[in-house]
Amino acid sequence: MSTTNSNADNHAEEHHGAPSGIMRWLLTTNHKDIGSLYLLFSLLMFFIGGAMAMVIRAELFQPGLQIVEPDFFNQMTTVHGLIMVFGAVMPAFVGLANWMVPMMIGAPDMALPRMNNWSFWILPFAFLILLMSLFMEGGGPNFGWTFYAPLSTTYSNDSTALFVFSVHIMGISSIMGAINVIVTIFNLRAPGMTFMKMPLFVWTWLITAFLLIAVMPVLAGAVTMVLTDKYFATSFFDAAGGGDPVMFQHIFWFFGHPEVYIMILPAFGIISQIVPTFSRKKLFGYSSMVYATASIALLSFLVWAHHMFTTGMPLAGELFFMYCTMLISVPTGVKIFNWVATMWRGSLTFEVPMMFSIAFIVLFTIGGFSGLMLAITPADFQYHDTYFVVAHFHYVLVTGAIFSIMAGAYYWLPKWTGNMFDEKLAKTHFWLSLVSVNVLFFPMHFVGLAGMPRRIPDYALQFADFNAVISIGGFAFGLSQLLFVAVVYKCIKGGEKATAQVWEGAEGLEWEVPSPAPYHTFETPPTIK
């Protein structure tokens, strides 16, 4: 792929660059500024959610209640989950989409720039409301990020209204972001950029955006029913009034399962960009990657009840959801095989983005394996709601989604800032993260198989040693992330100048504009040959 447009020359005459001061950030409609805002916000949330994880791990360091009361412990697990899902992982991907999608398809900006500003700026309020609810009398939400009724309705505290409101705002933000991505990709592709030429990051985000539009309204419906059940005497989830608490779980997971893929499909996209670059070889099976992503997205609507095998579903339901869940591992496997085939007989180098990507492939696959084990319904009866599940979803979300975000950040950081990052510091960050994250999450498999339930503030003595090890891994992983902040800070401040292509094997439109990418790119569309 190459362009006939030399953007750098055009840009010398540009007179409207970035405005200065706080108003630049408040009023910006520039996709790069909004992308940066999303990314910085998500980094902040990553540390706030991480601090809560540290509280959880400190309490679980030893058996017995040491530093927090059980009710506060439940608030920590709940808000940690909500913040990491809605505040850290999702906004990070939206930030990457904002930065990269227009540049990858040769568009001047996102299609709906004012809505873009709006969808970012309502987010801080959503999380402010959520965090402030922790300081109410009676505390914040304490029913788990899955907020099962009736624990979240009849039996919840008064912060529930704030929780519902804040989730509504997050949902509106996500839906607006998704609309923007779809409209941009459909309408602003440069001439010659056909769908089957789009980089995979763009493809995976397009499919993710459709998932978001499909399921965020379902989440909004679920929280609204929780609100009316609690405050307006409806009984959607109360058997005494003709409702059903299990229906809540069906509705929640109809949102929740596609949500899992919302958090992993863009990750697949990032890895599919990085692996070919550092293998100096084209992505193996481009079209099968696209079809695999689409089939994962479709199947993700048919597996929700695998989160609910113990709720007492009829046998036929259990069998259906078991088979569908097993099936979804096939297209996921195709992706892994394609990445490995891309590396096969390439010319590999191991810069930091590649190191994170390789770690992603291995560790995400381990998360996929435990997912396949969880699909086997009879075995799931033993795994469900234990630390085995905690291990599973942290492998796919931390060493999956978050490692891919780290990989993407290191990959594109020189393009964003114009400077190479401190490679030594970044490698230290990688190795410390890699070791500590496994000390943190790998033993959880064993603790879970041995029978430790999740979401408990205290546990039987047999689990003591492993929990101490897990907590140490947790503290180490948490501290290691400070290095990431140091790398990013140093890279923004200065460093060796980056070339336009940055990485030797990099291909695509984003590598043809100078580094740092000018405030406005592709004001006249490039032509793709």
């Binding site: 058996p63 209640l65 059980p70 009710d71 439940n74 009676g138 505390g139 029913f143 099962y148 009736p150 624990l151 009849t154 039996y155 505290n157 058997a239 059903d244 608490p245 293998s279 070889k281 084209k282 193996f284 099976g285 099968s288 113990t310 709720t311 007492g312 259990e318 078991m322 088979y323 496997g333 095989f337 490995v340 891309t342 096969w344 007989r345 590999l348 180098t349 291995v362 696959t365 381990i366 394996f369 396949l372 084990m373 086997i376 009879p378 075995a379 009866f381 033993q382 469900h384 709601d385 064993f446 198989l449 041995a450 029978g451 339930p453 503030p457 205290d458 039987a460 003595l461 047999q462």
Partner: protein, 377 residues
């Protein structure tokens, strides 16, 4: 506390089932029923399948990482697709999965077959205890955590079955098909006994079924597995499986004791207990049944559970006080304790609440007053 273990680093140790109370088992239990054994087998089969796939895929990847590096002079090849290979690696996993689906389906069908039970026990979860009712016998009782608060708060050494011990375990016979009808009085709980491979949610307003046939007598411990509020981590399950003859003996004893207790209650109605007696008993029963929410110091948790120290009800009309304790308050976490506790205990609790923590009303409530209230209703 358990001895330091580093052996989990060694894969062989990972798979050896180690079940002593002090040392943690590293793998799923094989349990004590035929079902739990087949569940364990499914778990191991799928685990080995994952291992094989993992070794092949990661093996190829690391081969590539070692041999196809630029620093070793590797030149990139040109290929970037192959329909044949793609079909192959879609089809192979598919076949493996179908092979896996057969035994899984078979076990699942067996697990869901709750017909022809020899004994039925209703299991009801509530915040934060379990209630067991034997359908074929005149016996039902609550089962509460037996670990003292002083162990939980690290004031004294923790005993071997810390958090996994209850005051009255469920007792079932070995070799017979026992059916469980599982439900809840408030939020969703989940009744989990790993050794039976049973984990079934207790949904308020609905009844779920599960069954087991235990092969070996013994004591089996489990926990509530669904987040159910503040003390979710403190509602364990203990099941004792006894030989049928011993079970029958136990059952006869227990029904006899229950009958006598009822007769005893009737006698009690005409007797008066002294203030000291009531206060001593009241403190004990209060701490066991009420302190989880209203706290030992009577101050509750602001915004969640009301304090009883200086509360309008505890200082006000006795009838109203008895009413809320006996009948609870619908739509809140305050349960009806009338059916949970003996008259004597209820009288003691109410007396205690009206005179402890500086609530010096001086009121003495006798069993007869509580009974009057129950009869009244």
């Amino acid at each position: 506390m358990a001895t330091k273990q580093v052996s989990w680093l060694i894969p062989a140790a990972v798979l050896s089932g180690n079940t002593s109370a002090e040392e943690m088992r590293l793998n799923m239990t094989q349990g004590v029923t035929d079902i739990s054994a087949s569940v364990y087998n499914l778990h191991m089969i799928i685990f080995y399948i994952c291992c094989v796939i993992g070794i092949v895929v990661f093996g190829i990847m690391f081969w590539s990482i070692i041999h196809h590096r630029k620093s070793k002079g590797a030149k990139p090849a040109n290929f970037h697709e192959s329909t044949k290979v793609e079909i192959l690696w879609t089809a192979i996993p598919f076949v493996i999965l179908i092979a896996m689906a057969f035994p899984a389906t078979k076990t699942l069908i067996e697990m869901e077959d709750t017909t022809d039970a020899d004994l039925t026990v209703q299991v009801t979860g509530s915040q934060w205890k379990w209630h067991y009712r034997y359908f074929e016998h005149d016996l039902d009782y609550y089962s509460l955590l037996a670990t003292p608060q002083s162990e939980i708060h690290n004031k004294i050494a923790k005993s071997a079955n810390y958090l996994l011990e209850v005051d009255r375990p469920l007792v079932i016979p070995t070799g017979q098909k026992v059916r469980f009808l599982i439900t809840s009085d408030d939020v969703i709980h989940s009744w989990w006994v790993p050794e039976f491979a049973i984990k079934k949610d207790a949904n308020p307003g609905f009844i779920n079924e599960a069954w087991t046939r235990v092969n070996e007598p013994g004591i089996y411990r489990g926990q509530c597995a669904e987040l159910c509020g503040k003390d979710h981590g403190f509602m364990p399950i203990v099941v004792i499986a006894k030989e049928p003859a011993e079970f029958n003996k136990w059952m006869a004893e227990q029904t006899e004791i229950a009958k006598n207790a009822k007769a005893e209650e009737q006698k009690l109605l005409s007797m008066n207990m002294s203030m000291e007696e009531l206060m001593t008993l009241g403190e004990k029963v209060y701490n066991a049944n009420c302190a989880a929410c209203h706290q030992q110091n009577g101050q509750g948790i602001p915004g969640v559970f009301p304090g009883l120290k200086d509360s309008a009800i505890a200082l006000g009309d006795v009838k109203e006080h008895i009413n809320i304790v006996v009948n609870g308050k619908a739509g809140t976490a305050m349960q009806a304790f009338g059916k949970q506790l003996a008259l004597k205990d209820l009288a003691a609790i109410v007396t205690y609440e009206r005179n402890a923590w500086g609530n010096n009303t001086g009121d003495v409530v006798q069993a007869a007053a509580i009974n009057e209230f129950l009869v009244d209703k």
